[in-house]
């Protein structure tokens, strides 16, 4: 083992644990991903390019990544709000509300999709109230967004909550005594502390949204070029026995997700360095 890789630690077992980590990661994550890439190589490059740049596929990438980013951003804002209320205030029903947050985790996604569609279709409770204003939610890209916001909510709340709980309110008080305005306290004291957790929550919510299938297909309407998500394109290709086409689209999605998540992680470590001066 080269010395560079090794950092002295009081606990032994570095070789063993590293070996285990590598084997485990390979088995669980790398092998399936490699299988996708290998399957894709059955296509020549022009075939691959034609498959992944077909108008329907491109439109689905735009929708899947666009709606997922917006949904993750919305969840970051409102998730922070929810986490703030749940950790900072005591009120009746708080525990119940806290438990509610996890529901989108626990609910089978198909159930969520059916419930949301029933609510937002033009004869549903919410849908019929929006109808007079010409707002259609179910069977439009807006419906996709709502489903993605729904399933992504717990990620931000649950990552921010413990950090918020640890954040001592003395910090804010001292900021106030030193003459900081409320906005300055938030912007200079609270936000930097929460930023790593917020970014993690954002990444998780985004990753979940990109891959989401079950809840979205019910509410999306699945119109080509308009409301078809990429996972649906993959399933459609599979259903036509087009295995290589499906894996081609999947590999692009994989790569794009990886790049995005990698970028967000990079942002995070840059942010950490900026505020703590540590690597």
């Amino acid at each position: 083992m080269p010395i560079l890789l090794r950092r002295q630690s009081v606990l032994p077992g570095f070789d063993l644990t590293l070996g285990f980590t590598l084997a485990y990661l390979s088995l669980i994550v790398l092998v399936p991903l490699v299988a996708i890439v290998i399957k894709t190589t059955a296509l020549t490059f022009p075939q691959f390019w034609a498959t992944v740049t077909a108008p329907r596929v491109l439109a689905s990438f735009r929708l899947s990544f666009g709606a997922s980013l917006i949904a993750a951003a919305l969840n970051t804002v409102f998730g922070l709000l929810l986490a703030w209320v749940l950790t900072r205030y005591r009120f009746p029903g708080r525990r119940f509300m806290d438990a509610l947050i996890d529901l989108p985790f626990a609910l089978p996604t198909a159930v969520a999709g059916i419930a949301l569609t029933a609510l937002y279709s033009s004869n549903g409770w919410i849908g019929q109230m929006l109808e007079p204003f010409g707002v259609k939610v179910a069977y439009t890209p807006l419906g996709v967004l709502i489903a993605l916001v729904f399933i992504g909510l717990p990620f931000v709340v649950r990552t921010v909550q413990p950090v918020l709980a640890d954040l001592e309110s003395e910090l804010e008080e001292s900021a106030a005594t030193l003459g900081a305005s409320r906005w300055q306290t938030f912007y200079k004291i609270i936000l930097p502390t929460l930023l790593p957790a917020l970014l993690t929550g954002f990444t998780l919510a985004f990753a979940r949204a990109v891959g989401e299938y079950g809840s979205v297909i019910f509410i999306a309407g699945n119109m080509p070029l308009v409301s078809e998500i990429t996972p649906l394109i993959i399933v459609t290709k599979l259903e036509q026995y087009d295995y290589t086409g499906a894996t081609a689209v999947a590999s692009v999605m994989l790569l794009a997700s990886f790049v995005l998540i990698f970028a967000i992680n990079g942002l995070q470590s840059w942010n950490r360095k900026r505020y703590t001066g540590l690597g």
Binding site: P224, L232, Q240, Y241
Partner: protein, 333 residues
């Protein structure tokens, strides 16, 4: 998902086998046959008990026809397949070689013990005045059909519309294509399967017309009461022949060939035909057809062989990637 399915089915199979039956069969079927095979399976179990003195328990798995075929290709051990269209069984024969490619000649009537067709389901009173295929391309008429790429039933819908247009425009392919394009521009939601489309139309209140299997339309009337919907029968439609087949490699491995064969033969028997008619499938036998004649309106039916030269050709021209259906949704057309 697929492995989960396989795991679940095998788990169920395991328990069911231990629980009571001597033989088990797995019938992998398509979406709207739930009610039909529920009845057939119970009746056949009684029949087999009486004739062969053997207890048989049959489980049926339902879903989009293409997806079901794919599960079988990927290893789901189906003794018999009863799918929405011959193309899906062809794929099982071609890709996984689980049965001979001439499987469709092994049973009478193209291996289709019952037939169906495509009709319209409209809302009570037919507010948009839909009478025939022409009305579906009018502006302001909203049509619900599943996606032909994923749903077998939707392919029949699509081909029925195409066949009508060909007949109307004297076999002019270009005009038929414009007709079907106009029709699909009136479709606001593309569900992935026939049951999903029915739910969208019936329960979510989307659309003015549902293009549906005749049996599915009757079932919707029965389930939701005829006070809410009406069936409109177009002047011309397609003769849909959902085929059945034994999966040779599976029955030989599991030693179930005899009972599987008897199960499919039973579909052609008097009782089997009667059950089909009762579940709104058009029976093949004269006797059952006469009994249920009142239930099924007469209309001109064309077959896929006559108009499209068979499934393989239709699939390639219309539904494969880059086919006619894809062009309908290309931008600017």
């Amino acid at each position: 998902m697929k492995y989960l399915n396989i795991a679940l089915v095998s788990l169920v199979a395991l328990f069911a086998a231990n629980a009571h039956a001597d033989v088990t069969l797995l019938n992998v079927s398509y979406d709207p046959t739930r009610e039909l095979y529920q009845e057939v399976n119970a009746a056949f179990a009684r029949h087999w008990q009486a004739t062969a003195r053997e207890k048989v328990s049959i489980r049926a798995s339902h879903g989009g026809s293409g997806r079901q075929a794919r599960s079988v290709i990927d290893g789901l051990e189906a003794d018999v397949v009863t799918l929405a269209l011959a193309y899906d069984i062809d794929e099982i024969a071609d890709r996984a070689r689980l049965l001979p490619t001439d499987w469709q000649k092994r049973l009478p009537n193209n291996s289709s013990p019952y037939t169906s067709t495509i009709v319209f389901l409209v809302r009570k009173g037919n507010p948009k005045g839909v009478r025939d295929w022409d009305d579906l391309i009018k502006p302001g008429v909203s049509v619900i059909t599943p996606n032909p790429k994923t749903s077998g039933g939707a392919r029949w819908n699509y081909l029925a519309a195409w066949g009508y247009a060909l007949r109307k425009y004297g076999n002019d392919e270009g005009r038929a294509r414009n007709f079907v394009t106009a029709l699909f521009h009136n479709v606001p939601v593309l569900d992935s399967g026939a049951r999903g489309a029915t739910t969208t139309f019936v329960e979510r209140g989307q659309g003015d017309v549902l293009l549906a299997w005749e049996n599915e339309a009757f079932l919707a009337l029965k389930e939701f009461g005829s006070g809410k919907f009406e069936i409109v029968v177009p002047s011309v439609s397609i003769l849909a022949e959902p085929p059945v087949a034994i999966v040779d490699r599976v029955v030989d491995k599991r030693g179930t060939r005899k009972v599987a064969q008897a199960y499919l033969d039973y579909l052609y028997s008097d009782e089997g035909q009667d059950i089909a008619g009762r579940n709104f499938y058009r029976p093949r036998s004269q006797k059952a057809a006469a009994k249920y004649a009142k239930q099924f309106p007469k209309l001109n039916l064309f077959t896929i062989e006559e108009v499209f030269g068979g499934w393989t050709k239709a699939q390639k021209t219309h539904f494969a990637d880059g086919g006619v259906f894809d062009h309908i949704y290309q931008p600017g057309k």
